[in-house]
């Protein structure tokens, strides 16, 4: 008898706890002095307990009374997308760019200032902006090209970067003759396959995205999209890639490249320092890892597209925007994160990283993609989604590799024709909306 009332209370309390646990009290600190705790979402599960802890300590030293907590997400893009549906996605986060189109930035993130103003100080501001307002600051940038094992390539007699696709494939053939696997696709992990899309703009220039949304057939000779996927197709169909792509392994690929078992991979310059670390761990010199621009040389020389990695943004629902802003400023300007990654610093006045010294000797032209026209930012993603061609993902490229290695029906022409058909049909649907 005496149990009943207290049981009822307990049940009610439990339900109340369930309902209320999402809410947290406290006054907002929008423009005051940095103070209190902020939560920072990050994708760097590898650094969160080491480098980032040191950053947090330094930040607290500069702004006493503040505390920075990190939440590292392994599947950052996927998890962050789901959390954006709630209001609980930390104070500072990385914009999950593959899911959130630019026109939605204002719904989730705090404006950081005008793009024009910010671009005087920071690189890559276009990418983190919508309609002239910046919502994100670049964490670091990198230039596209391919990492290769210098020892192997020198042994194969290649000491200058191939200027055309033919020369490049020829170089890979020579490498194959030395017994090394010339190219590694990273098919299984997938995301390294997605990064090759970063070469978009090498030939067509900085307005390539705008050109693509007006083009019914981007997979046509002379276009970047054709070059990027064509190079991959030709490499695989000539038998110049790993024999069984379905069992590749990214972490292992670093060691394979360092030891020379594999000789090259198309990646961003951010990968160079990771490959050098692997080389050092394998007892090789760091210099064994080289980085060259893509083999699409034009009259003006080699071109490399630079782009930013993820963007730091402040949650619109943050209760402590003052501290969040201070963290973004400090992380960008003072932490030295970009330099530690061997990457291009987001700060315009910072020097170029050592990892790109080959590029400097070759006089490579850097280009940064232009901002999409206002109102058209989401169009390229809309078309890609409608066509179910994951331009910035890996699924369609895995199918392309399957065809190239003879594991699926078709040839280069049929694959590209199918991609063009789907693209054109999706364009028509998206235009009609």
């Amino acid at each position: 008898m005496t149990i009943r009332p207290s049981l009822g209370v307990a049940a009610t309390a439990a339900i109340a706890a369930l309902l209320l646990s999402g809410c947290a009290g406290g006054a907002a600190n929008d423009d005051g002095e940095p103070a209190g705790t902020i939560t920072v979402l990050t994708n760097r599960t590898d650094l969160v307990d080491t480098t980032f802890k040191d950053y947090a300590a330094e930040f607290t030293k500069k702004y006493p009374g503040t505390e920075v907590k990190f939440e590292a997400l392994t599947d950052y893009e996927g998890d962050a997308k789901i959390r954006l549906n709630s209001r609980d996605y930390g104070d500072v986060l990385l914009i999950p760019s593959s899911n959130v189109t630019k026109d939605k930035y204002a719904d989730y993130f705090e404006p950081m200032g005008s793009t024009e103003e910010l671009s005087k100080k920071y690189r890559f501001t276009n990418e983190g902006s919508f309609d002239g307002t910046a919502y994100g600051v670049s964490t670091f940038g990198s230039a596209m090209g391919y990492v290769f094992n210098k020892d192997v390539w020198t042994k194969a007699g290649i000491t200058t970067p191939p200027a055309t696709e033919e020369e490049y494939l020829d170089a890979l053939e020579k490498v194959k003759a030395t017994g090394s696997i010339p190219y590694y696709t990273n098919y299984k992990d997938g995301w390294p396959l997605a990064t090759i899309e970063g070469n978009l703009g090498t030939v067509q220039g900085d307005t390539v995205r705008t050109q693509m949304i007006d083009d019914d057939a981007p997979w046509t000779e002379g276009n970047d999209q054709y070059n990027i996927d064509g190079l991959l197709f030709d490499t695989v169909s000539a038998g110049l890639s790993e024999p069984d792509p379905t069992t590749t392994n990214w972490e292992e690929s670093k060691n394979l490249l360092a030891s020379g078992e594999v000789s090259s991979m198309v990646l961003g310059s951010w990968a160079v320092s990771q490959m050098q670390d692997a080389a050092e761990a394998a007892g090789e010199s760091r210099d064994v890892i080289g980085f060259w621009p893509m083999p699409w040389k034009t009259d003006t020389g080699f071109t490399s597209v630079t782009a930013s990695d993820k963007f730091l943004a402040i949650s619109k629902y943050s209760k402590n925007k003052a501290t969040a802003k201070a963290w973004v400023d400090w992380f960008t300007n003072e932490s030295g994160y970009a330099a530690s990654q061997g990457a291009i610093s987001p700060v315009v006045s910072d020097p170029a990283p050592d990892t790109l010294k080959d590029f400097q000797e070759l006089g490579v032209n850097y280009i940064e993609l232009a901002a999409d026209p206002v109102g058209k930012e989401a169009v390229i993603n809309d078309i890609a989604n409608e066509a179910e061609i994951d331009l910035f993902g890996n699924t369609y490229r895995q199918k392309l590799i399957d065809v190239a290695r003879g594991a699926a029906d078709g040839d280069k022409e049929s694959v590209f024709a199918d991609l063009n058909d789907r693209w054109a049909a999706a364009r028509a649907t998206v235009d009609a909306k």
């Binding site: 008898m1 009943r4 049981l7 009822g8 049940a11 439990a14 339900i15 369930l18 996927g78 997308k81 954006l84 549906n85 899911n99 959130v100 939605k104 719904d107 098919y187 299984k188 997938g190 024999p243 069984d244 792509p245 379905t246 069992t247 392994n249 890609a384 989604n385 409608e386 179910e388 994951d390 993902g393 699924t395 895995q398 199918k399 399957d402 594991a407 699926a408």
Partner: protein, 312 residues
């Protein structure tokens, strides 16, 4: 109340003096079970029924997963599913898993029967067969990736018995689904095995003794004693196996991500929802899968009704 088992007269006598108080208690005990049930029911409703209800609603919209506005498109998504052949093509892959599931049931039944009789190292074998079911799916995926890779464990094993260059277990599109279905069989057989074993062991020993007296051999015992006794659990396992084959997801998703022609219907649904931001269409696909499973279950129950179990 259930604690007051035993002689009803005794119970009545014991309760008689406090019958007036008991009336109050009865009305009270009507709500008490519900209080206990509130939390599990709340979880069930919040985490199962509301999301499923939402899914039905999403399936009628062209929602992209983020947009605050959902555009109602009626049955457009369903029309699309049934008019785009490539969406249904992936059910072909399920046939591999269905074949695997049947092999799994047969093997599980075989081992369960064998190990329900006196066998040497019986408990060891039970453990060995059930163990894979306890391992986390991601771990199994990784282990089997190493097992299947060129020059990996399987190739080394085959080389030891003189078979060289057996082909790429995951790289060859004609082998990949067999390899993946095989992994699923290895993983889930233990569960069927334990279910069958439990059912077989509930058969009274006298029936076997009687059968022995009548001169039945092992096959007769299996056919006329074991099989009829476990037909309910067999029917259940069969439904689960078909549903599992149609909605195969975990093993192929971890091991190949659906690449190289190993894409199953659920992987396709997940990609549609989260890669191509078509949550509306993907919800419709999920609804279609749910309906297919319900239909198969209904057909199965019509063909093998389990009322027969009451004969015994």
């Amino acid at each position: 109340m259930s604690t007051l088992k035993g002689d009803p007269a005794l119970t009545a006598r014991a309760l008689a003096p406090i019958s007036s108080r008991r009336r109050n208690r009865l009305t009270g005990s009507g709500t008490t079970p519900w209080l206990f049930l509130i939390i599990p029911l709340a979880f069930l409703i919040v985490l199962t029924y509301i999301p499923v209800g939402n899914m039905f609603w999403y399936s009628l919209t062209s929602w992209d997963g983020l947009d605050p506005d959902m555009e109602f498109v009626g049955l457009g998504n369903f029309v699309r599913i049934f008019t785009q052949p490539e969406i249904f093509q992936v059910f072909f892959v399920s046939l591999y898993y269905l074949a695997g599931a049947i092999a799994q049931l047969v093997l599980a039944l075989y081992f369960a029967t064998l190990l329900s009789f006196k066998t040497r190292f019986r408990n060891l074998f039970k453990g060995v067969i059930f163990f894979p079911y306890l391992i986390n799916g991601v771990a199994i995926g990784l282990v089997f990736l190493y097992f299947f890779r060129p020059g990996g464990t399987l190739d080394a094993l085959l080389a030891a018995v003189g078979i060289h260059d057996p082909g790429q277990w995951l790289g060859d599109p004609s082998l990949v689904n067999i390899s993946l279905a095989g992994t699923s069989v290895w993983r889930y057989m233990g569960l069927n095995f334990v279910l069958f074993l439990g059912a077989i062991q509930s058969v009274p020993a006298e029936q076997y003794e009687a059968a022995d007296l009548d001169g039945a051999n092992s096959w007769h015992k299996f056919r006329f004693i074991i099989l009829p006794s476990i037909r309910r659990i067999l029917g259940l396992s069969f439904i689960l196996a078909i549903a599992g084959a149609l909605s195969a997801f975990e093993m192929p998703y971890i091991m190949t991500g659906g690449a190289n022609g190993s894409e199953t219907f659920v992987i396709q649904t997940v990609n549609t929802a989260f890669k191509f931001s078509k949550v509306g269409l993907a919800s419709a696909m999920a609804v279609v899968l749910l309906i297919i499973v319900l239909v198969i279950t209904a057909v199965q129950r019509r063909v093998f009704p389990d009322e027969r179990g009451e004969e015994s």
